[in-house]
Point group: C2
Chain length 419, copies 2
Amino acid sequence: MSDYPVHKVVIVGAGFGGLSAAKELAGAPVEITIIDCQNHHLFQPLLYQVATSALTSAEIAVPIRSVLRNQANATILMDKVVGVDHAAQTVQTKAGRAIGYDTLILATGAQHSYFGNDAWAAHAPGLKTLGDAFNIRRNILSSFERAELLADDLSAIEALQTFVVIGGGPTGVELAGAIAELAQSLARDFRNIDATKTRIILVEGGPAVLPSFHNDLSARAALDLARLGVELRLSTMVTEISDGQVTTDKGVIHAKTVVWAAGVQASPAASWLGVPAGRAGHVEVDDTLRPRGFENVYVIGDTALRVSDGKPLPGIAPVAKQMGIFVGRRIAAQARGRAASGGFRYKDAGALATIGRNSAVAEIFGLHLKGFIGWLLWGIAHVYFLIGFKNRLFVMLSWMWSYLTWQKGVRLIIRHPPG
Amino acid sequence: MSDYPVHKVVIVGAGFGGLSAAKELAGAPVEITIIDCQNHHLFQPLLYQVATSALTSAEIAVPIRSVLRNQANATILMDKVVGVDHAAQTVQTKAGRAIGYDTLILATGAQHSYFGNDAWAAHAPGLKTLGDAFNIRRNILSSFERAELLADDLSAIEALQTFVVIGGGPTGVELAGAIAELAQSLARDFRNIDATKTRIILVEGGPAVLPSFHNDLSARAALDLARLGVELRLSTMVTEISDGQVTTDKGVIHAKTVVWAAGVQASPAASWLGVPAGRAGHVEVDDTLRPRGFENVYVIGDTALRVSDGKPLPGIAPVAKQMGIFVGRRIAAQARGRAASGGFRYKDAGALATIGRNSAVAEIFGLHLKGFIGWLLWGIAHVYFLIGFKNRLFVMLSWMWSYLTWQKGVRLIIRHPPG
């Protein structure tokens, strides 16, 4: 038994970054406290499939406690962090606790950003949490149900059967494709409306979808979306969103269901630390993933702005994971009295986005893959990276079932009692 | 083509009764409109497993449209019935429609009843819908999370780790057993609290649990519950429920999570028809399942009071199903110009209730089964009666996974944005 107090590591956020750091610290002579306002780790890359009835919430989420059950040095608190008192070396929580740290890892992710138009949130919800996914799923499915009820009011039916997705990045493309497939799968479900006449409009401010991909893949994604019936509105800026209406610089779209996939903003970590925030609220970090002037505070994942080779690293799962592993290893080495190794370097394995059945684009180790091969790779990669054997098995089975039956299985409208 | 208008059948409610009637009318020369305020048929006998993290909502619910996709004579409207104008032969809906019928089937089920103490609902939610199940699941899981946060406040932790289930019928027994198993499965998940020290208290007004079962089975269920650590408070009447406190005629219980499984009340069908309601709001029906004085209105399932051999038929799925089939066949025969056959007779195959792993009681064709054999039969029967191959497969796999790992997979606290 040592007389010295054990080194206390507080990790805020159990997303890809925070969880990777925690796992890397298994067995290290540290006491870890992981604080998250959710009780589950969420596999966000597949969240759009919950929003579009293809997967259930339990298939892509796993209790944080399950993941770390056997890691004796990890305590999990379901609580919301509201501030950091760096002078006192404590984290303040909503439940009123002050949790002391020797080392702090902020891995708090990002939220939607409406670029200052917060009133749009009510009409165009974003997709970050399971609650968001349920909300969007309910909006989409209820639109079809309301249209079926109306029967006569053609302009109202048209607005109910028009879905607008704002933002042409991976989330927007995947959502638009999945809504199109959902509508097709409903072809024989309604008697008064024609579900196949559903319009899906993807609005993107720039000149191409998937702007982070190479031109050929971005063009192929646009082609595959068009084949699914998705209408692309490129170089189109949204100027106003109200109930049932999206106004752009190119005209007005009447639509009852609008989904926001256009912008994200980092968590308030910058204000907690009292450091200047980047354009989207990010905290700039050095090559050890610490903000300037902080010896024992790390900021990782979507909250961090790490400029590498003149470009900021993207806010995607592999970056967050690698950052978590880097920081975890660094703290473990220090706790064992070893020297910390060099700086963080992102190993870019590529990027993937799916458009629909048999259709995805992938840049992987320099290769450009499309169509069925890209889609297969996309599916394998996503199943592989899911946490938990049960999730892998069930997601695979759900996908196989959907593939064979052309049906989306989770078309449930669940109303929640208040509270 | 006939010049006569097609016979219009309106079915209110797509539970076991309404759905069975609709399926029985497939191919009959009638036009069916099914109205339900949910978009899914729910397999209610397994709802408690969603409330206790064993199954996902999609495993026990299936969109009504999926079930009747290929039945061309059926139209489904997701809408809420607010009244019946029998003089005009129409059903009034919340969306403002008046839907005409030649024959009306009311299969609107039951809701919780707090015996006039509606204020208890806020502190002791009941379990009838998927929304209810999510609500209870969130309450249960959040109690453990809050207890883990408190660390020092022992009496608060005790109240958070005390769960009260009110009502010793099948739902109450199954809920209490499932909460006990959930708590055991969490043994290694917490660091500050001991999840195995969770108290589950089952309060029943009568002298035995499962009063509708034979004495030996009811006694065995009590024994199996006690083995799981459930405390039975029999012959105990609840007199008051407030936040964190259940008052009974035998004393006060401090508990933050209380679930109501004590009473149900039929839907307002009696008031829609302007007929006198039975004790729990039921509509009394004759052996053709029609209320006295109504030629073309049927009331079936939990809404109906059908006295047979001097005893009212119980509000369970097999009764509702058989009633639905009876009414569907009768209407089909009449629509084809054939004489309707005799009166409704319930074929009682028995009853089942599970207490936990390897433990259930069953009365089946006069046999009394207990323990592992009863449990196996319970599982097979419930998988068999699920609607949809995917549900059967996934429920079976989920159960197998839980059985092998001793874990409950769906421990997700999902907060929903308002709206």
